[in-house]
């Protein structure tokens, strides 16, 4: 998965959860859960969407790596390599 694809996947997932989020203008290193007010269920949905679309296994211990837009992209690129 290219960084571009990964970014698109993350952005699409976020928009699905928070339809009015302006993901393009979203600071890439800001904490997602706080900035987008994701609760635990929203975050679980986020994990679910990334997991199914990128076809990667994401364990609970991996959750800290999905803290920001950038880190999520990096995680997906690494896992699909």
């Amino acid at each position: 998965m290219t960084p571009q694809d990964a970014r698109r996947t993350v952005a699409d997932a976020l928009i699905e959860i928070v339809p009015d989020a302006d993901v393009d203008a979203f600071p890439a290193s800001a904490p997602l859960r706080e900035e987008l007010e994701l609760d635990s269920l929203d975050f679980l949905t986020f994990v679910e969407l990334l997991s199914s679309r990128a076809r990667v296994r994401i364990d609970e211990m991996d959750y800290p790596r999905l803290a920001t837009l950038d880190s999520s992209v990096a995680f997906l690129v690494e896992q699909t390599a």
């Binding site: 339809p19 269920l41 994990v47 609970e60």
Partner: protein, 444 residues
């Protein structure tokens, strides 16, 4: 023949807007089938049928706002005789009152089908209008040219006037009680006793200028968010005015529960993974089942136990607002089932597709603000329920056990309960039960 009516989806709801019909006349429906979507000031709700049978004419057009109790359609029960004749599209066959017809009038005098309580009052069996569900009665006074009956006349007559006994009216005037805020004990007629009960409440002295239980009387809401804000304001004001809350707090060690959860999650596919909220809901449901005095409603001056444990979950909406639909019969679910139901409920809440029972039936409510980073929540009871459990975030804290201090994940749980129904003793036992369940998450 049964009536399918605009349901009351909460103590503060007095009218609703029909958004969409999901059935057509002649459809066969079963009890529990979703027939229509209704917009309350809170959200779009799917309304289920309480009857099995054939759908008759649809009496209310989408987009129409009607009072609670208005007949939306009739359902002819299986085996019963069907309506005498196929019912025409209501608008097409608008009957005119006799006077209008004899004068050959033109103009806006066509009667259109109206969401009218008046249809129930029409007695004359010969009236074609009533057979078709039209809200025209012989008592309707015409204000149109030549005293013809106009649509406005019918609408005016069909708006249900609150039924208040003359003595209750006089008493309300004497006591300074706003009748709009008085709820009749028998659900139909406001009588002197209801006025006295209302006046005797804790805030009888200065009658509120804007009756909190009647958001309709407040300045008109301009957006759905405003309407929801007004509805929440009404419910919460009423609760804080009428319900003597008491609060109990307990900090719960979650190390066992979370270890068990992480263990389970390793084996579960991502879409079935658990979150701590599911464990908490599961524990609360069990504790509520064992503490019936906290699971139910305070109505007409007395406690009425709930018919099952239906745990309301406070769900905040993006764009503001709050809904607390129920996980029905939550005490019969496993943790995994609770999780699945929670996900489904949140998804449908945010998509605006709740079912009527879920909105009207919670017997106890849980509000979890842990994700927002607060440690404890002292919530306002969603009257007429009698208890609300507030859950804070999971934090690591030094915790002494068996003479040793270690870091443990803990959460603070707060019970808000109605002192008219229970005392702190009962509440304390309830919180202890919740704690106990969370120490044994493996138990079904």
């Amino acid at each position: 023949m049964a009536d399918f009516t605009m349901p009351s989806l909460g103590a503060d709801m007095d009218e609703g807007t029909l958004l969409e019909w999901l059935v057509h006349p002649g459809d066969v429906v079963r009890k529990g089938d979703v027939l229509a979507v209704v917009d309350t000031s809170k959200s779009a709700v799917e309304v289920e049928s309480f009857h099995t049978g054939v759908v008759g004419p649809l009496l209310v057009e989408p987009g129409t706002t009607v009072p609670v109790g208005t007949v939306l359609a009739t359902i002819t029960e299986a085996g019963a005789a069907p309506p005498e004749a196929p019912v025409p599209e209501p608008v097409a066959a608008a009957p005119k009152p006799k006077r209008a017809r004899s004068r050959g009038t033109s103009g806006p005098r066509r009667l259109r089908p109206l969401p009218a309580a008046a249809t129930e009052q029409v007695r004359s069996p010969s009236s074609g209008a009533t057979r078709r569900g039209w809200a025209w009665t012989s008592a309707t006074c015409g204000t149109g040219p030549g005293r013809t009956i106009t649509r406005d006349d019918v609408r005016r007559d069909s708006h249900p006037r609150p039924r208040v006994s003359p003595y209750a009216r006089r008493l309300a005037a004497e006591l300074g009680v706003d009748l709009e805020a008085v709820r009749p004990a028998d659900g139909e007629v406001v009588r002197a006793e209801d006025v006295r009960a209302h006046a005797g409440g804790p805030t009888a002295a200065p009658a509120p200028t804007a009756p909190p239980t009647a958001p309709a009387a407040a300045p008109p809401a301009t957006t759905p968010q405003d309407a929801m804000r007004a509805a929440i304001a009404a419910t919460m004001t009423r609760s804080k005015r009428e319900v003597p809350h008491y609060y109990l707090t307990n900090t719960v060690d979650l190390s066992t529960a979370l270890a068990w959860m992480h263990d389970r999650n390793r084996d579960l596919p991502v879409q079935e993974r658990l979150v701590p909220a599911a464990l908490v809901l599961h524990a609360v449901a069990r504790a509520a089942a064992a503490t019936p005095a906290l699971n139910g409603f305070f109505v007409d001056g007395a406690f009425r136990p709930g018919d099952g444990v239906h745990v309301g979950v406070a769900i905040s909406l993006r764009g503001g607002g709050l809904v607390a639909p129920a996980i029905l019969d939550a005490d019969a679910l496993t943790v995994e089932e609770t999780m699945a139901r929670l996900k489904d409920l949140v998804l449908r809440t945010r998509a605006g597709r709740l079912r009527s029972r879920e909105l009207s039936d919670p017997t106890i409510t849980v509000t979890n603000l842990g994700d927002q980073g607060v440690e404890s929540v002292y919530g306002v009871i969603h009257a007429p329920q009698v208890a609300l459990v507030g859950v804070g975030k999971v934090v690591e804290r030094p915790w002494a056990a068996d003479g040793m201090v270690g870091a443990r994940p803990v959460t603070t749980m707060t019970l808000s309960a109605d002192h008219r129904v229970t005392d702190g003793f009962t509440g304390a036992r309830f919180l202890a039960l919740v704690d106990d369940h969370l120490q044994h998450p493996e138990e079904p």
